[in-house]
């Protein structure tokens, strides 16, 4: 909750830039051509590759967003 006390006018500059970077990363990861690399009949740990890739990178993205926005920032 201590984060909430930092209510303020501006965004922390670096945080904002990191979030844009995450957006760009997501745009690349979730689309052709990277997507096509994993779009094949294969399994890893018994899970279809495409399914694992999408959910895995999605989770990584969410964790990155949480770390960036809830972190100390500067």
């Amino acid at each position: 909750m201590s984060q909430e006390k930092q209510s303020g006018t501006g965004f922390r500059r670096l945080t904002a830039q990191r979030l844009v970077a995450i957006f760009l990363l997501g745009g690349v990861v979730f689309n052709w051509p990277l997507l096509s690399l994993f779009n094949r009949q294969a399994e890893l740990f018994g899970i279809p590759l495409l399914y694992l890739y999408l959910f895995g990178s999605w989770l990584v993205l969410i964790v990155l967003m949480a770390v960036v926005i809830e972190g100390k920032g500067d």
């Binding site: 209510s7 945080t15 957006f23 979730f30 399994e43 018994g46 993205l61 967003m65 926005i69």
Partner: protein, 919 residues
């Protein structure tokens, strides 16, 4: 065994719980301990995004296309990563401008245009109707299926069901009643619904829990975990294909299109805007939502594919994949779980319907009905005392009408599509708001016409390429419309417009509609510069100033009583007085009546009204009691462009300081000159006194000698007296000359130039000095032109100059061999007179010095001439006189060795014009 009544009872109990939560949250809010002022509640309430589309439809989509259900959730994740910019800014702008809906937002942005608000409302209602139909279909289907428990029976074709036996109708009526009871209990000045948000957050938890329960049941109950279920699916060729996506360009294209579409929808759907922007308590809550909402989406999707595969394995045919979430537990005797799933689906549907219809009814009331009613003079609404009841009434009817429209669409077109297909039609409709909304949020150039044209163009293309085909597919329009185009014009086939084939219908619609939308928006916006009102609003939205924008731009006059009466009419007396009383206290006044009707109060009143009737109507109503002086475009531009003002100030400052510097420099120079003059004056006085003392000393010395020694012989005595007389004469002459000079320099010399004959003056002067020359044995020669030369001058003064020059010359030549020549010659416009001697001459560096006061020249040999034989004032005086008559006086040294190698004094005098004509 599930009976119909037990399902209905469970449903009612669930709705009762929602009511209790809403009531509790409202009570908490009233006592100042808001439940929803919490970032986690905010993030959970955002999950109203997940409707029955997600709850039932995702599995259906996954059963048909495998991973194809996922872009709808990846898009919002990407948008939320930009939430720190986009959503946060929208919330700030909405709070500063008391925005109550997306229609209000757009209308307010483009100069509070009622027309624009109305258009957005119509698009939103028409666009969202299929989405509401989707919820009705899902709930009525799940109810029908559950009713036939334990048999798995698919709902029959709806066309066959008589209207009054159609469960969807009762679902629609029930939901309308529920939403009316729930959402329009009272009119809130800020159009915020604390209780509703709390209930929505609770519903988000319920639907996630229900879906998770099914997921766990299928994956770990029916199968041995993820790996097992995938392994089994691999064995069925039809299912194995679901593990990969179609590897074609079109497939990746529609993947990207769906991602983009859902990115926009998560903020632009009326209910998403309502929850994310209007109901937001604190902009900083966006921070947690940025990751928590995507995480929610992640969790609710993780079991979609396993359930779809489990369903396909369990029911190879005969069961609609959209119902797997419900039918799988039913088939496995999971009675309680099936009921829980039904409740979860109900919560997904009610959440969506409540927020969506409340948002839409607010828009219909504020941006469609009220502007018309208020302008309808014969109704006399503008004079009615209390309108708050009327506002609520309009909203209730709007909610009922919207749900009936949804039901109508469901009857007409609901059968032709799967759940997701219906939802995407709505997504594509609200995507039409994107250009005007995001354009308006980041670009100041958009105008009212541009926004109207963009929205209209996009909406028409959407309706033509997506809405009408959905009617056609369900047989309501002839099938030829789709296959051969209207009137057989193949080029206009709705889903291959202008022959564009190879895209799925959503990508196709998105491409053409956004192309038309953005094109029209830009083209019409760029036709003219924004007017004063648009520019002011653009500034408020694009710059999103902290603290509500500049009130200084408002000018006008109003009375407090008028404003109070106005607010009372729309909010009710009690609520209006409470709000204004609080405002009065915050301004330091004890009572409302003591308030000043200034720009702040008017702004406050307008925003209070905006909460009730929307910004466009509020602006009109306030304008009716306020005599607002219209703002000129120039003034607004001046106010807006503060940067340029600052620049102008600094330019001015720069100029001023430069001028100051210049003035300082001039003053310094003047001061310098004054010091110089002062020094010269001191020098002059000391020189004068020195010069006066010399003869005085001599007179005094000889007088004392005569006085003290009476025995001096006569010859000696007369010599002394002679010296005294000559020194006295010299003193007199000196004093005369000093006075003369002072007169000349002060310009007070009174002489009158008349025509004088120069030759005569020369001759007279030579005569008067002839004795002096003869005494010293100096030759004086003269060459004069025959004719008389007349110049304009003062006779006595000119003579004074001649005498001075001649007596100077004789002083410096050697006795006996001395020789002085006077030469007078006339040029075109002047006469030149020279006096040349054969004395020692004047050193070149002294040529100007000798014209200074009390300065006397040195000889050409560099030694000082003998003790002053004159006063040292003759030449300065002469130069003054000549310059007074417009001539020049200077000295030259002829080269040594020539016949007259002494000094040559020359002066010129201008000839009068008459003289010139004669010559």
């Amino acid at each position: 065994m599930l009976q119909g009544w037990s399902i209905v009872l469970a449903s009612l109990a669930y709705l009762g719980v929602l009511f209790a939560i809403a009531w509790w949250a409202d009570r908490r809010a009233d006592s100042g301990r808001s439940v929803i002022a919490n970032p986690t509640v905010y993030a959970l309430s955002l999950a109203v995004y997940c409707t029955t589309w997600t709850f039932y439809g995702s599995v259906g989509r996954a059963a048909a296309t495998g991973i194809g259900f996922l872009p709808i959730y990846l898009g919002p994740t990407l948008m939320l990563s930009l939430g720190w910019f986009v959503l946060h800014k929208m919330v700030r702008v909405a709070k500063a401008n008391r925005i109550t809906s997306i229609a209000d937002f757009v209308a307010s942005r483009y100069g509070k245009s009622p027309l624009l608000g109305g258009l957005v409302t119509i698009i939103a209602v028409v666009g969202v109707v299929p989405y509401i139909a989707l919820q009705l279909k899902a709930v009525s289907n799940s109810f029908t299926i559950l009713l036939h428990h334990p048999d798995i029976v698919m709902p029959t074709g709806l066309g066959a069901v008589p209207l009054l036996q159609d469960s969807a109708l009762y679902v629609a009526v029930g939901m309308a009643a529920f939403t009316i009871l729930f959402g329009t209990r009272h009119l809130d000045a800020t159009e915020r619904h604390e209780g509703m948000v709390a209930a929505i957050a609770f519903e988000s938890v319920v639907k996630l829990a229900a879906f998770f329960a099914v997921g766990l049941f299928v994956t770990y109950g029916l199968h041995g975990g993820f790996q097992h279920i995938f392994d089994q699916a691999e064995l069925v060729p039809r299912l194995a294909k679901l593990m990969v996506a179609g590897d074609s360009a079109a497939n990746y294209g529609s993947w990207a299109a769906l991602t983009f579409l859902s990115m926009l929808s998560v903020l632009l759907l009326p209910r998403q805007f309502q929850i994310a922007v209007v109901e937001n308590v604190n902009p900083d809550h966006v921070r947690r939502a940025v990751w928590l909402f995507p995480l929610y989406l992640f969790l609710i999707n993780i079991f979609v594919l396993p359930i779809a595969l489990g369903g396909l394995l369990r029911f190879p045919t005969g069961v609609d994949a959209d119902t797997f979430v419900l039918t799988l537990p039913m088939a496995e005797q999971g009675e309680a779980l099936a009921l829980f799933v039904f409740i979860g689906g109900l919560s997904a549907a009610t959440g969506m319907v409540i927020v969506e219809t409340i948002a839409l009814s607010t828009m219909v009331c504020n941006d469609l009905v009220m502007p018309v009613l208020l302008r309808w003079k014969s109704l006399g609404l503008a004079e009615r005392r209390d309108l708050s009841g009327l506002l609520l009434e309009i909203r209730r009817w709007a909610i009922a009408a919207i749900l009936m429209l949804g039901y109508g669409y469901f009857r007409l077109a609901g059968e032709a599509y799967a759940l997701v297909g219906i939802g995407l039609i709505s997504f594509a409709a609200v995507a039409q708001f994107a250009p005007v909304l995001f354009g308006g949020l980041y670009w100041k150039g958009g105008t009212r016409e541009g926004a109207l044209a963009g929205l209209l163009a996009g909406f028409v293309v959407w309706a033509y390429t997506l809405l009408l085909p959905s009617f056609s597919k369900s047989g309501w329009l002839p099938a030829e419309f789709l296959s051969h185009g209207p009137f057989g014009i193949e080029l206009l086939r709705p889903q291959q417009l202008f022959g564009l084939a190879g895209l799925d219908e959503i990508s196709h619609c998105l491409l053409w509609s956004l192309l038309a939308n953005v094109g029209a928006y830009l083209a019409l916006s760029l036709r003219r510069a924004p007017d004063a009102m648009e520019a002011r609003q653009a500034n408020l939205f694009v710059d999103a100033p902290v603290g509500g924008g500049s009130l200084s731009s408002w000018r006008g006059s109003a009375r407090v009583a008028d404003l109070l009466a106005l607010v009372e009419r729309f909010l009710g007396v009690e609520r209006a007085r409470t709000a204004l009383g609080r405002y009065a206290r915050s301004r330091g006044a004890s009572r409302i009546e003591e308030l000043q009707a200034d720009a702040h109060l008017i702004h406050f009143a307008e925003s209070l009204l905006a909460g009730a009737i929307g910004s466009a109507s509020a602006h009109v109503m306030v304008a009716s009691v306020v005599e607002e002086e219209p703002l000129g475009l120039d003034e607004v531009m001046n106010i807006l462009d503060e940067a340029s003002q600052v620049r102008a100030y600094s330019r001015e400052l720069e100029t001023k300081s430069r001028e100051l510097e210049q003035a300082t420099q001039e003053l310094r120079e003047a001061n310098e000159r004054l010091r110089e003059v002062d020094r010269m004056k001191d020098d002059f006085i000391s020189t004068v006194t020195h010069e006066l003392r010399t003869p005085l000393t001599s007179i005094r010395a000889f007088s004392e000698m005569l006085f003290e020694d009476p025995k001096i012989d006569l010859a000696e005595r007369s010599r002394f007296l002679g010296i005294i007389v000559s020194e006295t004469e010299r003193l007199t002459r000196l004093i005369n000359q000093i006075l003369d000079l002072a007169k000349l320099e002060s310009g007070r010399a009174d002489w009158t130039p008349v025509a004088v004959d120069l030759s005569e003056i020369v001759r007279e002067s030579m005569e008067s000095v002839s004795q002096l020359y003869r005494d010293k044995g100096v030759t004086l020669e003269c060459s004069l032109p025959a004719s008389g030369l007349e110049v304009m001058a003062d006779r006595d003064r000119l003579m004074q100059v001649f005498l001075n020059l001649l007596s100077n010359a004789v002083k410096f030549v050697a006795p006996g061999t001395g020789r002085v020549e006077v030469d007078v010659a006339a040029t075109d416009d002047a006469v030149q007179v020279s006096v040349t001697d054969n004395g020692p001459g004047i050193a070149h560096e002294d040529h100007e010095v000798i014209f200074e006061k009390f300065r006397q020249g040195t000889g050409n040999n560099g030694t000082l001439t003998d003790k002053p034989q004159g006063t040292g004032l003759g030449l300065p005086i002469s130069r003054q006189i000549i310059e007074y008559f417009g001539g020049r006086l200077w000295v030259e040294s002829p080269p040594p060795g020539s016949a007259m190698a002494g000094a040559r004094f020359i002066f010129t005098l201008p000839l009068p014009t008459t003289q010139k004509e004669q010559t």
